[in-house]
Amino acid sequence: MPEPAHHLEQRVYTGVTEEERPVLVAQLWHAGAIKVETVKTSDTYTVTATFRV
């Protein structure tokens, strides 16, 4: 009997500032993200959080 399929949901936050980044990342982990990635784009960051739904 195969397990029911789980889907992933991604939320991408663009234009995240240096000040906002640690706050957002901590809140995303607290929200239950299974993965949080941060990529620097010019002077801001793009934070991608993956959730299991």
Binding site: P2, E3, A5, H6, H7, L8, E9, Q10, R11, V12, Y13, T14, G15, V16, T17, E19, E20, R21, P22, V23, L24, V25, A26, Q27, L28, W29, H30, A31, G32, V36, T38, V47, T50, F51, V53
Partner: protein, 289 residues
């Protein structure tokens, strides 16, 4: 009496082969498990976590985090190596030992003169082989044990890569709590149940593919203003821990079925949503600084 001698001989042979060093399949470790664990015992104490909690500077927090996580990785590795080594040795010892014992009993039955002794010895041999088959199948998973150990090693490497990647990030991105959660997964990956679950999971290729599918991607243009700061401080009064009571009030204001992710979106999303949230909280008696 003479018919008992072969029985004793076979039992001694079985025990001797079962305890044979070459069955270990690995050289003796340079230090015992207890000695190895003593090297990192300081990082297992609550004081180590307290040091991390007390640190405010990013460098100090990261250093404390790395020490705790690396020490625990080492401790899990020491225990895992001890476990996998003993697992393999026990199986080999049991299988070889019980085979030798059964062969000895069968040989003794052939040599025995008394018909009653022959019957007894043959029955004992059958009993030993029966027990061997059941234990080997149920406890040692028969010949699949090497595959299970290989799965445990592979799963552990996957989780370890995730932890290593996390340790390369700042503490704000990969806090100790996230590291400890990954360490739990690292431990579970090295258990028989974890390996069997992983094997079962891989067997259902279609299910696995479905699991990896990203159902939706939502893009939010982040805005972080003064209200965002106030709401974040209200949610995390000390800047680290989340206040459960405040969180419940905020979620109630965001909407009847709002999730924590929705709350994150309001704090980092559009200004209008934040204004509405702050108004609701203030009306409920909350003070936002």
């Amino acid at each position: 009496m003479r018919s008992i001698h072969p029985f004793l001989m076979s039992a001694i042979c079985a025990l001797a082969v079962g305890g044979c060093q070459s069955l270990n399949g690995a050289p003796t470790p340079i230090e015992s498990r207890k000695e190895a664990l003593a090297h990192v015992s300081a990082q297992m104490l609550p004081a180590a976590i307290q040091t991390y909690d007390d640190a405010t500077a990013e460098t100090a927090r990261r250093k404390a985090r790395d020490r705790i996580i690396r020490a625990r990785i080492y401790a899990i590795d020491v225990n895992y190596n001890d476990f996998s080594r003993s697992l393999s040795t026990e199986q080999k010892s049991f299988v070889v030992g019980s085979d030798v014992l059964a062969a000895g009993l069968t040989g003794a039955a052939t040599l025995a003169k008394s018909a009653r002794t022959k019957t007894h010895l043959t029955t004992y041999a059958g009993f030993v082989l029966g027990i061997r088959g059941t234990v080997d199948k149920e406890l040692y998973f028969s010949k699949t044990l090497p595959a299970i150990i290989a799965q445990m090693n592979a799963s552990r490497q996957t989780v370890l890569a995730k932890i290593t990647e996390g340790l390369a990030r700042p503490d704000s991105d990969y806090p100790l709590a996230a590291g400890l959660a990954d360490l739990e997964a690292y431990y579970v990956a090295g258990t028989l149940n974890g390996a069997l679950a992983a094997i079962s999971k891989e067997a259902g290729v279609q299910t696995q593919t479905a699991e990896d599918r990203i159902a939706s991607v939502t893009t939010i243009a982040a805005q972080y203003d003064d209200l965002s700061r106030k709401l974040s401080r209200y949610w995390q009064p000390d800047g680290v821990a989340f206040d459960a009571g405040h969180e419940a009030r905020m979620l109630a204001c965001v909407g009847p079925r709002a999730s924590v992710v929705d709350l994150v979106d309001v704090i980092h999303g559009t200004a209008a949503q934040r204004t509405s949230l702050v108004a609701c909280l203030t009306a409920g008696g909350a003070t936002l600084n």
